[in-house]
């Protein structure tokens, strides 16, 4: 017996090490209700400990190398390469002045948007607090698209926090260590983010493919989806706030496994391969800073006469609409105050009816027989479409979320879905 162990010692050691690892692997994978295997999103305490050790060993040298690289870059940029800085500074000052004016106008729009959203019972969340972090390294494998940042739980980071740049979303925090964190990038095959196509309002789940391209998977073939269409976060995943840019549609490919389904390859808005600094959204809540509120007040003051004139104009339009014969149904029930006309376009000012619901907006008659000559009727709008819209059943949307809020796109009110439909 002893000679057997001595003879096959190498092989026995190999098998023992392999067996231990296979058992360890089996404990990290779980089976879904559908019978397929999936990764356990939450690491066990033992696994987490190993990751912590590995991170503690690799992060310090990575930080040192990264700091040396940044130091060299700064030395060059801040001291050696300062030609034309004065001119650039003046240009930037002008840009800041212009942007402040634009920001004031945008704040006015945002406030208007907030009012509209409260009308249709939204709970819009604005990014409240972010933590800036430097990227310091990656997993080193093209099959595991994660990277590490130099901020961790000591800086207020937690699991499943959204990671973004000014250009768009990047990923989510997957694991947090005391002074570093692991971020799962949206182009990884195991990532998942709820997204919506801006124009066609089609929802889907974004994940990466083998080539590291993010793609919206498993949506029914729709010829309206064209390259160039913007993709935004849908907000249903409870990780990314609604309305953040994700990218643009690059191409549409057929799903290799399912007929009539397509995958939409997305060109990410954020430069996923050139990330130096990212922002981690640590909390979301509606808030304007004092400076922004000041700008808003200034904007309101400046726009006072203009706003008054617009209000008068809208009131006149409403009165005229009431007097038009045949369009008003005196017996129709009162329209919900939250109603917004179906033809409202994103980015437009709210129509008079939505802005002043108490003034009695015209109640429109339905056509007896929808015809193809009336815009917005016939096949598009069924006769009983006054009912509330059907709840969205997109897979990434958790059932606990108010279906009403799921219907709407970020940054714009998806009034075609949220409001009761009325024929012109």
């Amino acid at each position: 017996m002893e000679s057997f162990f001595a003879r096959y010692r190498d092989l026995i050691v190999l098998l023992a090490i392999l067996l231990a690892q296979v058992i360890g692997l089996a404990m990290q994978v779980r089976q879904t209700a559908a019978g397929t295997n999936t990764l356990d999103p939450q690491d066990g305490s033992g696994v987490r400990l190993i990751r912590l050790w590995a991170n503690a060993l690799v992060s310090p040298p990575e930080k040192v190398i990264h700091a040396a690289k940044m130091g060299t870059e700064r030395l060059w940029l801040d001291y050696l390469d300062l030609r034309h800085v004065r001119e650039q500074n003046q240009e930037l000052q002008k840009t800041i002045d212009r942007l402040r004016l634009e920001q004031a106008a945008l704040l006015e729009d945002a406030r208007q948007g907030q009012r509209l959203q409260s009308l249709v019972d939204f709970q819009q969340k604005y990014i409240y607090k972010t933590v800036a972090a430097q990227t310091i390294g990656s997993s080193g494998s093209d099959l595991s698209r994660v990277f590490y940042i130099d901020k961790g739980s000591a800086d207020g980071l937690g699991r499943d926090m959204a990671v973004i740049t000014a250009d768009g979303i990047v990923g989510k925090v997957r694991d947090v260590f005391p002074h570093s964190a692991q971020v799962l990038v949206i182009n990884d095959q195991t990532s998942g983010a709820g997204v919506i196509l801006e124009t066609t309002r089609i929802r889907g789940i974004l994940r990466g493919n083998a080539l590291g391209q993010p793609q919206i998977v498993g949506i029914l073939y729709d010829q309206r989806i064209q390259p160039g269409e913007k993709v935004l976060t849908a907000g249903g995943d409870l990780i990314f706030p609604r309305g953040l840019p994700v990218g643009v549609v690059e191409k549409v490919v057929r799903d290799p496994e399912r007929e009539n389904f397509i995958d939409v390859v997305v060109k990410p808005a954020a430069h996923l391969d050139r990330l130096d600094e990212v922002l981690v959204i640590t909390s979301t809540a509606p808030r304007f800073s004092s400076e922004q509120q000041q700008d808003l007040a200034t904007s309101e003051q400046l726009m006072g006469p203009e706003a008054e004139a617009m209000k008068e104009q809208k009131k006149a339009s409403a009165i005229m609409a009431e007097r038009l014969p045949g369009l008003t149904d005196p017996n129709a029930p009162a329209v919900n105050q939250g109603a917004i006309p179906a033809n409202a376009q994103p980015g437009q000012n709210p129509p008079a009816a939505a802005a002043i619901p108490e003034q009695g907006q015209p109640k429109l008659l339905h056509p007896q027989h929808p015809d193809r000559f009336t815009p917005g009727t016939a096949a598009e709008i069924p006769p009983d479409s006054d009912a509330a819209p059907a709840p969205d059943t997109s897979p990434e949307t958790p059932p606990s979320v108010n279906p009403k809020s799921q219907q709407n796109a970020p940054g714009q009110t998806d009034t075609q879905q949220a409001a009761p439909r009325r024929n012109p």
């Binding site: 096959y8 690892q21 990290q28 590995a54 690799v58 990656s138 391969d273």
Partner: protein, 176 residues
């Protein structure tokens, strides 16, 4: 089966290195593997190399017993897994096998010949990729899209790195 026999050994010259080399070279390989693709930016997607495999193969080839190569491969693989978000053990299994095969091959071939070492490095890199996919897709039954081209390019990249790295590490040997 004679390759697996512990008694079957050629009269090998055992390569020995300072302890610092044993500690720092694998660590440097792991850190650079995590850092280089990132710092290459947009070219990071073309970072077709796997430094831990190269280092595992190098040290395993020079050891007299497969056990040391096996343990070294397992340690490197587990470390790599710990830095990824995949289950810990996938790279571990792959590189354990690579370490064992490399150490076994080291007892059968003349590993002083640089060309043979490069060929072995190329083949073992392919084996590492194949083992990874086998464990991920077959053993664990998880979905994974992958292409053979990437693994092939990675093996070529590893061979190119080995051309420079192996002689550099050879120079660190303790010579009697």
């Amino acid at each position: 089966m004679s390759v697996l026999d512990a008694d079957f050994r050629r009269n090998l010259e055992i390569r020995r290195y300072p302890m610092l080399v044993y500690a720092l070279v694998p660590l440097a390989a792991l850190v650079l593997q995590a850092w280089l693709p990132w710092v290459l930016g947009r070219f990071g997607r073309y970072a077709w190399f796997d430094l831990p495999v190269v280092v595992t193969v190098y040290f395993a080839l020079g050891r007299p017993t497969p056990i040391q190569g096996t343990i070294m491969g397992a340690a490197m693989g587990l470390f790599e897994d710990a830095l990824s978000h995949h289950p810990i053990g996938i790279n571990g299994v792959a590189k354990t096998v690579v370490g064992f095969v490399a150490a076994s091959a080291g007892t059968r071939f003349d590993v002083e010949d640089h060309t043979i070492r490069l060929i072995l490095n190329f083949l073992l890199s392919l084996l590492s990729g194949a083992m990874y996919v086998f464990v991920y897709r077959i053993l664990l039954g998880l979905d994974l899209e992958w292409t053979w081209f990437t693994e092939l390019f990675k093996a070529i990249g590893n061979s190119i790195i080995a051309v420079a790295l192996f002689p550099a590490l050879d120079s660190l040997q303790i010579r009697d």
